[in-house]
Symmetry: C2
Subunit: 330 residues, 2 copies
């Protein structure tokens, strides 16, 4: 008798929050991704103009993990008029030895939010200066909050500056961060000033024109840009990538197509270099930050390996907590 | 409060069998596929040599259907040593308007078996001679049985000849067909003889060298070849495609890569023609069988459109029958 565990978003929220475990397994996934043993096919993307929607399907098989996730991420942009979020999604966790379905995670994108924030935390762990007293975040959405929360697990900054185009939203975001972390958190109207005062900047916007200027970079700064996950997006001015002492991709092939690297190369920069991947910094095969004064940038586009990692933790925790509906196949 | 219906293979078998409804909706899906309005991205294929496995993911959005299926089909070839079938799989049915998950169909490949057989029946309906008294099937597996059963809904043949490399398996297959349909069914050792006596031949083997010779073709014959779904497979001798009065693809782009057309073109044949798709025969935009004496061949590689079609029927039937486990999202 085979059993399949079905977990809802509510159940997943009971057992999964941002914590060191989530950061650690995502770190492990990146290291394995860089080692070349992970099987991660290109994303299956389906555009549905008739429905004003799109669907992305990602998967990655990581040797040594018990299972591998297939993630289905729909975006249907008329949903808000029906009172439903545009972005949803779910994951299926298949057994790595048999291909049988072990679990169905009806997370509505919650696990994607977590694994995306955990990747930012891993970037901070390996690339930010040892001492970060002030962090800035660009953008005021879910990822602005989660990225700061996850990074705070790795760098115990005492002050957060929130910049967004909408002052009111920036203030609400700062309020939430203050309440979640017990740190000083304020909205900052001037993005240049936010960068100047910070040792860690995380950009989480859907910008299509740069929101972070190259001239704002200063010694002892790490920038994680996680907003660009499509060819049309661009948060960081192309010159910044060339000026930085170190530019790191989550996945080189993806960043060249969807990330900040795409925009830089389109501008004629970064064309003759092979930037390292985050996993190569983790496993030591490429050098990371070389001094407290260095300027580093990490470009995150999101990988199927992170999905497999977070789904693996989620299933283990849900089982341990006795959560979910058991479906019996016979 | 959103509800998601989870259905197991056992529950799906209670409400889904081969019948005219299944054939009809698959026919409709093919017609829409040919009309150019269906969105069907290329298959996402992941090869897992470390696990002696592979995973294929298919999807297709058909305008006018309430939902669209994402099908995950793993094949793990060490499974039989664990007492588990190599091929498994499941489908997720997403709402066509919102992208939200409507149902999870844990069918272990059962719905794929049905939709594959239904496609064969649709090919027989539109391409076989009006009068079929004897049908032959090559191969002795699940599809040999189901293809004959589905085709019998469209052509009331009274006699079935089963050819397979293993005489004993052919006899067991004939027994099963006799019991299922109440027709005469016998194992035939000589494949040429089986073709000579039949007006309809269905090939269902995993052959990598042709099992049906061009010289066996005779006036008033229709052949459906459904075994080749990978670049290495080939059931029908390439010359047969060139000799036939009409050769039809389920999906031209797929048949050219995975089907009998691939082998024919590799042999230098069929290179300067654009064969019709089954949907174009159904909707009348390309001519089908022009006379009782014509020789026709249909090449089936399997499409995501069929998955969306069969999943749609399955969900409607399961709901009507009150089957499945309801998972509440809130």
């Amino acid at each position: 008798m085979r059993e399949i565990l079905v977990l809802t978003e509510r159940e997943l929220k009971k057992c999964m929050v941002l914590d060191r475990d989530a950061n650690d397994i995502v770190e492990d996934a990146f290291a394995k991704l860089a080692s070349g043993t992970v099987v991660m096919p290109p994303v299956l993307s389906m555009d549905l103009p008739q429905a004003h929607g799109e669907v992305d399907i990602k998967t990655a098989y990581i040797p040594g993990f018990d299972g591998f996730a297939v993630k289905i991420s729909p975006g249907f942009f008329d949903n808000p008029s029906l009172g439903i979020p545009s972005l949803n999604g779910m994951m299926v966790l298949l057994n790595a030895n048999t291909g049988l379905v072990d679990a169905v995670l009806l997370d509505n994108g919650y696990l994607t939010d977590l694994r995306t924030a955990a990747a930012g935390a891993v970037a901070s762990l390996h690339l930010a200066p040892e001492s970060v007293t002030t962090a800035a975040v660009f953008g005021t959405g879910v990822q602005a909050r989660l990225q700061i929360e996850a990074a705070h697990l790795e760098r115990a900054f005492e002050r957060v500056l929130v910049w967004g185009r909408d002052r009111e939203k920036a203030e609400r975001c700062a309020d939430d961060i203050r309440n979640a972390l017990g740190v000083e958190a304020i909205a900052e109207d001037n993005p240049a000033e936010a960068v100047a005062e910070s040792q860690l900047v995380i950009t989480t916007t859907p910008a299509r024109e740069p929101v972070l200027a190259a001239e704002w970079l200063h010694p002892g700064l790490h920038v994680t840009a996680m907003g660009s996950d499509q060819a049309g997006k661009n948060e960081v001015q192309p010159e910044a990538l060339a000026i930085a002492d170190l530019y790191v991709c989550d996945r080189l092939s993806q960043c060249a197509e969807l990330g900040e690297l795409r925009a830089a190369r389109a501008a004629g920069l970064m064309t003759d270099v092979t930037p390292p991947e985050l996993g190569q910094i983790i496993d030591g095969s490429r050098p990371g930050r070389v001094s407290a004064d260095a300027i580093t940038i990490c470009d995150l586009t999101g990988t199927g390996a992170q999905d497999t990692a977070i789904a693996t933790v989620a299933l283990a925790r849900a089982r341990a907590a006795g959560l979910g509906s058991v479906i019996r196949q016979d």
